[in-house]
Amino acid sequence: MIAFDHIHKRYGSTVAIHDLSLTVEPGETLALVGPNGAGKTTLIRMLLGLVRPSAGSARVGGHDVQRDGIAARSQIGYLPQRAVLYANLTVGENLGFLGQLRGVASARVADTIALLRLGELANRPVRELSGGTLQRLGLAQALLADPPVLVLDEPTISLDPLSVATFKTLLRQLRAAGKTVLLSSHILGDVQELADRVAILDHGRLIALDSVGGLARRCALPERIRVDLGAVDGGEATLARKAGAASAALQGSTLEITVAREHKLAVMRALLNSGAAVTDIQGQPPTLEDIFTQLISAEA
């Protein structure tokens, strides 16, 4: 549905995006993550035709963004990082105006206002809205024409926790409805929760592209395991380390272990065979934050 083909962007002597190829399949949610200046926003802007690539191309639904930009953009609903609309116009007027540009019927505008719970604010000027409500309005304009592709740049950055939860629910509904989503975010917990695949960018280069599980396997990061003990005799941590744990320490009656995947079973077996009073075991797979930190550190 979205394809970047050897896309490259240079500003003078600075390379913002370096020969990057990437596809997002129909119905997939792909997240772009990376440190500040990694090129996420530049990549999104090239997809929207706001920035011209120095080389390569971007396509949406088969339409080349540079040669057939209007057709390409008709497939996209875009939520920018700062979802600012026209301050002196009301919520309804803003959505009505953008609806006119996209040839959307007024009934659809009303439906979108209702979907995003903006009905009570429809006659209020945008300059009077809070940051969270502005973001909801931004999402409303992105969904206005019911496009098959959503491009969301830091969608939860100015939302309160309740609005974040509502946004995630809505995004799950949109995924279930078959929307293709390209998401850029610094909030790695949200990305891990929402994305099918993650593209990690650094200095304009694509350094990893996979599901969170696939990236974790590739990085061979150790897992964290918490073992609750009914009684402690003091030798459990030493036993775990001898069996292959990278680290093991007792915190009260809980043994906290860090262990590579290949040694996990051996450590558990050693603990259980020793007669330790194990009452519960909780595994914590590596988080996207762990993966991100390892990959970016390796690049540096």
């Binding site: 500003y11 926003t41 530049t42 802007r45 929207l48 035709g49 706001l50 920035v51 011209r52 930009g69 209007i70 057709a71 953009r73 008709s74 996209i76 875009y78 920018p80 990082q81 700062r82 979802a83 600012v84 609309l85 026209y86 301050a87 002196n88 116009l89 007027e93 105006f97 953008l98 006119q100 540009l101 996209r102 040839g103 931004g138 304009q141």
Partner: protein
């Protein structure tokens, strides 16, 4: 017709925002107050003595127009396009399935409507005062002054949009806009005076023609003065040019040149806007 819908939608929004921000009302009122003051003072100083009194008042209004209208139009255009880019809505607008040029043409149409409303409001107040104070006001002359003022405003609106399309940010655009205003409204006449002193004969006549065409402010000044009889005080060398411009052919050339000053910068603005990057 369908391809004009986005232009109309953008123009309507631009006009609505100009009205909501009270820009049209305030500038119209300011222009009206200044024009009214000039008209009343002008008509009283000559005792409302008829045509001569009207001409003197109209020349006073012309000077107000030549200083005020280009500045107003430049600030309006630059503030609209550059501010929209810096404050954010332009990013959402350009992400819609519309051509970039559509944005420039729509903005021009909406801002032109706002500018025309402001100028017509001001001119109406002044025109009413002149009509009440003068026994023999020149309605045709006044209408021509209004039309030329609007044309001058539209030319500088196009130039302002071109500057805002090319400039990196609002501050740079404002700097370039003020420099253009200073050069065309204040500096240009000094340049012409200098050339008049240096050149002579046919060379000066040719240079005057080119210099006249190269500045919309002087086009409006000279064409209005010709109509009001104020061009008689121009030097001998200029009289041949004035003689030509006074005829039907000359009026057509002046009108075509003013139209070119509106259309060509607008096309330039659309071309520049369509080709530039909108990076974060």
């Amino acid at each position: 017709m369908k391809q004009f819908q986005p232009v109309l939608a953008i123009a309507r929004r631009e006009l609505a925002e100009a009205i909501r921000s009270r820009w049209v009302v305030l500038t119209g009122a300011l222009f009206g107050v200044l024009a009214l003051a000039l008209s009343v003072v002008g008509m009283r100083s000559v005792g409302a003595a008829g045509f001569g009194g009207f001409s003197r008042t109209a020349i006073g209004l012309l000077n107000l127009v030549l200083y005020f209208v280009p500045l107003l139009a430049l600030l309006l255009a630059i503030n609209s396009l550059a501010a929209e880019r810096e404050e954010g809505p332009l990013e959402v607008l350009l992400a819609q399935p519309i051509a970039r040029r559509t944005v420039v043409y729509g903005k021009f149409a909406g801002l032109a409507a706002a500018l025309i409303a402001a100028l017509c409001g001001g001119f109406s107040v002044a025109g009413l005062a002149i009509g009440l104070l003068s026994a023999a006001a020149d309605v045709d002359g006044y209408t021509l002054l209004v039309l030329r003022s609007v044309a001058l405003g539209l030319a500088f609106l196009s130039l302002g949009l071109w500057i805002a399309s090319a400039a990196r940010n609002r501050l740079r655009a404002l700097t370039w806009g003020l420099l253009l205003w200073f050069a065309t409204v204040l500096l240009y006449d000094l340049l012409i005076l200098g050339l008049t002193a240096l050149l002579g004969g046919s060379l000066l006549r040719a240079a005057l023609g080119v210099l006249l065409a190269a500045n919309p402010v002087d086009l409006v000044r000279v064409s209005t003065l010709i109509h009001l009889g104020g061009a008689d005080s121009f030097g001998l060398t200029a009289q041949a040019l004035i003689g030509f411009l006074r005829g039907a052919g000359g009026s057509a050339v002046l009108a075509a040149l003013l139209a070119a000053w509106i259309v060509l910068p607008l096309l330039g603005a659309a071309h520049t806007f369509a080709r530039r990057d909108f990076a974060a």
